[in-house]
Subunit: 306 residues, 2 copies
């Protein structure tokens, strides 16, 4: 088993979906990534920042899941990052109602010394220069995974390209892959993005699953069709947490194992959306994950008569 | 091997895509279905109608592929059905520029006597009452597959529901499944549609693949991600032809074999879109299909370490 460094937001979210709405609840990319990776008993460290208003019970919960929080800075007189959004009826699109950066504005990530030798680094969605700051603190990691979004392509493309050149894997959604590459076909888009640096390109298509590209190879993990999607918040980060958590657990960076890793990511993301916020991910048993993996197998595995 | 009856349009299409445009070329649902099913050497009969303007060489081509054309009525003083459409840049949406029903307006399908004992019937997209007319001519078929579209839901829903109640499989796209069921989730939509009659519901998601539902089971066939989609016309019919052609060839109607059948359908559809109209499907070798099936396997098959 290898160590995993997780960088990203730890936040308050207020969410509205057709099924209801929440007050400020626990959210943030690093939170979802950590909860998801913890399913494998991964030795992970969360590097992030919160304000004095952040409840100790949330920190305790992350620790109880096996997450190291030495790198979770607390700014006593600051306020925690806050995001609020409202999903449309189709659950695939949403409006951002509020974004209050607060303590995130001056965030300077510090990787704990005992995690600088981690083999796997998950750079959750943040300013590219913050992500770069984390890479620079690591001693020769084997697998650096970058998540990003169109926002950084719009306002910090040059910085983003510098980080992209340094990572092994990039995870983005289909529209972002098109924006970044200028290509509509995801096959062509992934080739162009690989030329920017990463050996692996993971393209997330939400309810339509995820693709991983590597050299001339590609592999597809479907999303599990669900009778009810309650709240999509955090699904992409949960996917990333499953992906990197599995890689760290196994220490196997072959393409065969990458395939399993995106199946695990997709499997865990299918739980995340069943309840509001992190609720489902906080209460998830190994047995439930095992059963759902079998559903993924039945969903996609076939034998040809030859 | 069982016989296959194919009902649908045989038509002229004029197509415009970002890659170019065609004059009137060979098109029509039954044409694509027949060309696709012929890949398996299936004993198929096309039941359709054309006008005196329809070139004999097209009929000869269908016969050369092994299709029986006794049920292809020629109306000497009539004109062949004509459809014209223009695809948008994303290739997923299109505008219909012209629809001239012509001989289709008075089409009264006649199944050749020697095919009334066919086990598999593919009802291509046509007025539901024309589809019903074909069902009524068959002697106890084992697998009746219905394709339809939102147009009939809008103008002939009651008739459509009567036909749906009589078939074993319905194939529709995701938006149509939602319209027909009133449910957004495809899992819930398929359950409601199964309550209308069919034991199997196939939901086509275009570039996002296809799902088949049966009782509590579901299976997913991806679409092959392609570097270039040249012309999507006929992809859904090619999928249906691969699906029913494979079922007729094998005579095996188990769910395990249905899975293989939608993989074959998806595989053949991936060729259809590579050239304008029927060009690619007319010139497709067994070896090419075999190689692409292996690509589908590499795309989706994984082994869990347990």
């Amino acid at each position: 088993m290898s160590k995993l460094v997780i960088v990203g937001t730890v936040a308050f979210d207020a969410i509205e979906t057709p099924f209801g709405k929440t007050d400020k609840i626990l959210g943030g990319a690093a939170t979802y990534i950590g909860l998801s990776a913890s399913q494998f008993g991964t030795d992970g460290a969360i590097v992030s920042v919160v304000g004095g208003d952040f409840p100790q019970k949330y920190i305790d919960m992350l620790v109880s899941k096996g997450m190291n929080v030495e790198g979770l800075e607390i700014v006593p007189d600051g306020k925690t990052f806050f995001w609020s959004g409202k999903y449309h009826n189709d659950m695939n699109t949403r409006d951002t109602l509020a974004t209050e950066l607060n303590v995130l504005e001056k965030f300077n990530p510090v990787v704990p010394d005992s995690y600088k030798d981690a083999e796997v680094v998950m750079l959750g969605n943040l300013h590219p220069m913050v992500q770069m700051g984390v890479i620079n603190q690591m001693n020769n990691p084997k697998m650096v995974v970058l998540d990003t979004m169109n926002f950084w392509m719009d306002i910090a493309l040059d910085d983003l390209k510098k980080v992209i050149a340094k990572v092994d894997v990039i995870t983005i959604n289909d529209e972002e892959a098109r924006q970044l590459s200028g290509e509509y076909s995801l096959v062509t888009a992934s080739k162009k993005i690989m030329e920017m640096g990463p050996q692996y390109v993971v393209i997330k298509k939400g309810e339509h699953g995820a693709l991983i590209f590597h050299k001339e190879e590609m592999f597809f993990a479907p999303a599990l069709p669900l009778a009810e999607v309650f709240d999509p918040t955090g699904a992409g980060d949960t996917f990333a947490g499953g992906f990197t958590g599995y890689l760290a657990k196994t220490g196997d960076y072959s393409f065969e194992n990458m395939k399993r890793a995106i199946i695990y990511g997709s499997c865990l993301a299918s739980f995340c959306v069943e309840k509001f916020g992190t609720e489902r991910m906080q209460n998830l048993s190994e047995n439930e994950v095992e059963k759902r993996l079998q559903q993924f197998q039945r969903l996609t595995q076939f034998e040809l008569n030859t």
